[in-house]
Symmetry: C2
Subunit: 330 residues, 2 copies
C-alpha cells in the first residue's frame, strides 16, 4: 500500500460525467494501491439543502450506488456516511480554533461558490466552515492523497495549512500533508457549453442516465455556434461535443476522422452527435449494469455502508484521541 | 422538577466572585428544582488557549472543584466534560447550517470580546462559531433555563433563534426556547474598579483564594479616588468596596453603619476594608472546606465527571438522533 486516499461526494444529486473524469476514475484506478476511504458527506449537503433536508438521505443512497457502479470494490474500499461519525465534527471544532476567520473568507472556492450559488450576504456559517469540515474528513483517516476536481484544490490547501499548524502546535507530525490528485479533466464542460458541468446548472449527463436520455441530451448539445450548415467549416477546439469525444470515445481513429471532416465542413452535427451518443453509451453500459445489480440488492448496499462507516469511525476515534492527548485535552 | 438547567464554565482559569454572583449562586439554589447539567467547556477554552492547550485539562479540574466547592451536589447534578461528547459538535455542525454568517458577526458579545481580547482581525473561525457551540451545549440536553452572567445573554439569544429555526424546519417543537436567568449581580466590578471582574484583567478574588490572599487583595482595592483622608466625606455609590459589602456581608447593620460613617467622613478605608475582608472570608470558608475535601479525593472528582459525562452523553445522543431523523439525515 502506498498510503491512504480520502475522497468522496456531497450528496446533493446523482453523480455525472464531470465527477467521473475529475475524481471517480482515479478512485477506481488507485483502489488497489491505496487504502481508500470514500465519504458520503451528507451533513455538508445541508449547506445548500438546509430548508429541504429530507432529500439528502435519498441522494446519499444514489451517490453510494454511483460509486459502486463505476467499479469501486467494497471489499477493498471503505464507503462511509459522514453524519454517522460524530468524532469528525469534534475534529472540525478543534481545527476551527486554528484557522483565522479572515483566512476562511479568502478561500477562493468559498468566494466562487458564494457567487455561483447566488448566496449574496446570506450564506451560512456552515458554508464558511465547509473547508474546515473537509479538513476533518481528510485528516480523520490521515489521508495523504485526495483525488479531487480542480475546484476543490483550494480547500485542500486549507487542509494542508491546518495539518502543518496542528503539527507545529503539538511538536510532532501527527497529520500528513495531503496531496491533491486532479483527474485527467479537472473541470468538464457542460452539455450547454458552460465551462463546468454542474448539478445546479442543468447541463449534466448522469452516470445513471438511460441510453434514451443520453441520446436526447447529446442531440441537444451546444456545438460551434457559428456553424449554421453541415457544409460550413467548424471549430473543434473548445467544442463540447469534441471535448466529450476526446474523453469518452475510445475509437481514436473515428474521432480523428470526425474532427477532420468537421473542420472542412464535410460532416453534419447529427453524425458527430450520434457517434458521441453511441460512444457514451458504450462507456456507460458496464456502469449501468453494476448499478442495476446493486439497486436490486439494497440490503447489500446498506451493509457496505455500515461496514465502511464502522471501520472509518474506529480510525477516526483513534485519530481524535491521539490529537486530544497530544494537545492535552483529556 | 420544573425543567432542565444547562450552564457551566469555559475552563480558562479558576472561578471567582463574579462567577458566583452571576451564575454559581443560582446553580446551587435551583439544583433541587431543576435537572441540572454543568458543562466544563474545555474545547471552548481553545478559542483563547489554542497555542498553549496543555493547561486546559488542569483548569478543567480546577473548575470542577469550584463547582463542587460552592455546594453543587454531585448526586443531583451532572457535571460533564464537553470534549468527551463528540455528538455535541455534530449538533453544532448542523446548527451552523441554519445561522447566517452575517448574523454571527452581529452578535454583540462576539463583537465585545474581539475588542476586549485585543483580537483585531486575527480571531479564529472557532471564535465566530462560539455561540453555535454554545447553542449545541444548551440544546443537547434540551435545557429550558440557563443561569448566566449578563454578557452571555446575547449568546443565548442566538440559541433561541436556532431553536426556533430548527423547530420551524422540522415542523415540530423539538427544542425548547431557553430562558436566561441572570444572577443577582449580572456583572461584578473588579477589585480595581473595572466594571467587570475578569480572569484576564487581574482584578479577581477567586473562590479558591486563601484567607491571606483575600485580605491582601481587599486591602489593595480601589475605592473613592477623591477621598484622600479618612475625615473626607466619601461616595459609597459605585464604590467597589461597598458593592462587595452589599453583596457578600450578611451583617446588614454593619454595612449600613459603615456607609453612614463613610459618607460623613468618620471611618477610614482600612476599617471598611478589614470588615469586608472578614465578611468575604466568612462567606468563602465553607467553600474552602468543601474544596479541601474534594482536593483530597481526586478519584472521587474524576468519578463524578465520568458519571456526569456518561449521563449527559446518553441524552445528547438521543437528541442528535431525534434531530437527524426529523430532518431526514439517517
Amino acid at each position: 500500500m502506498k498510503g491512504r486516499i480520502l475522497t468522496g461526494d456531497t450528496p446533493t444529486g446523482k453523480l455525472h460525467l464531470g465527477h467521473y473524469v475529475g475524481t471517480l476514475e482515479n478512485r477506481v484506478k488507485l483502489q488497489r494501491d491505496y487504502k481508500t476511504f470514500i465519504i458520503l458527506a451528507d451533513l455538508h449537503a445541508l449547506t445548500t439543502l438546509s430548508s429541504d433536508p429530507k432529500i439528502i438521505s435519498e441522494y446519499t443512497y444514489q451517490v453510494a450506488l454511483d460509486n459502486l457502479a463505476v467499479g469501486l470494490d467494497p471489499e477493498k474500499v471503505n464507503i462511509f456516511v459522514e453524519s454517522r461519525i460524530p468524532e469528525i465534527y469534534e475534529l472540525a471544532a478543534i481545527f476551527s480554533m486554528y484557522v483565522s476567520h479572515t483566512r476562511s473568507l479568502r478561500n477562493p472556492t468559498v468566494k466562487d461558490e458564494i457567487v455561483s450559488k447566488g448566496q449574496g450576504e446570506h450564506f451560512s456559517l456552515g458554508f464558511i466552515n465547509y473547508p474546515i469540515f473537509q479538513a476533518a474528513d481528510i485528516l480523520c483517516v490521515k489521508a495523504n492523497l485526495v483525488p479531487v476536481g480542480v475546484d476543490q484544490v483550494a480547500h485542500l490547501e486549507q487542509t494542508r495549512e491546518i495539518a502543518r499548524d496542528i503539527n507545529r502546535v503539538v511538536g510532532e507530525d501527527i497529520f500528513p500533508i495531503a496531496e491533491a490528485l486532479v483527474g485527467k479533466v479537472g473541470k468538464l464542460v457542460g452539455t450547454d457549453g458552460n465551462p463546468k458541468m454542474g448539478k445546479s446548472l442543468g447541463n449534466c449527463i448522469y452516470l445513471s442516465d438511460s441510453e434514451e436520455v443520453v441520446n436526447k441530451k447529446v442531440m441537444g448539445m451546444y456545438t460551434d455556434p457559428k456553424r449554421i450548415h453541415p457544409t460550413d467549416p467548424g471549430r473543434v477546439e473548445n467544442n463540447p461535443v469534441f471535448i466529450y469525444h476526446d474523453v469518452f470515445n475510445s475509437n481514436k481513429t473515428e474521432v480523428g476522422d470526425l474532427k477532420e471532416r468537421y473542420k472542412k465542413g464535410t460532416v453534419g452535427d447529427i453524425e458527430v452527435k450520434e457517434k458521441l451518443a453511441k460512444a457514451l453509451n458504450v462507456f456507460l453500459d458496464p456502469i449501468r449494469k453494476r448499478r442495476a445489480h446493486y439497486e436490486k440488492n439494497k440490503d447489500l448496499v446498506m451493509d457496505i455502508l455500515d461496514t465502511g462507516t464502522k471501520r472509518t469511525r474506529e480510525i477516526t476515534i483513534e485519530t481524535l484521541n491521539e490529537l486530544k492527548s497530544k494537545i492535552g485535552l483529556q
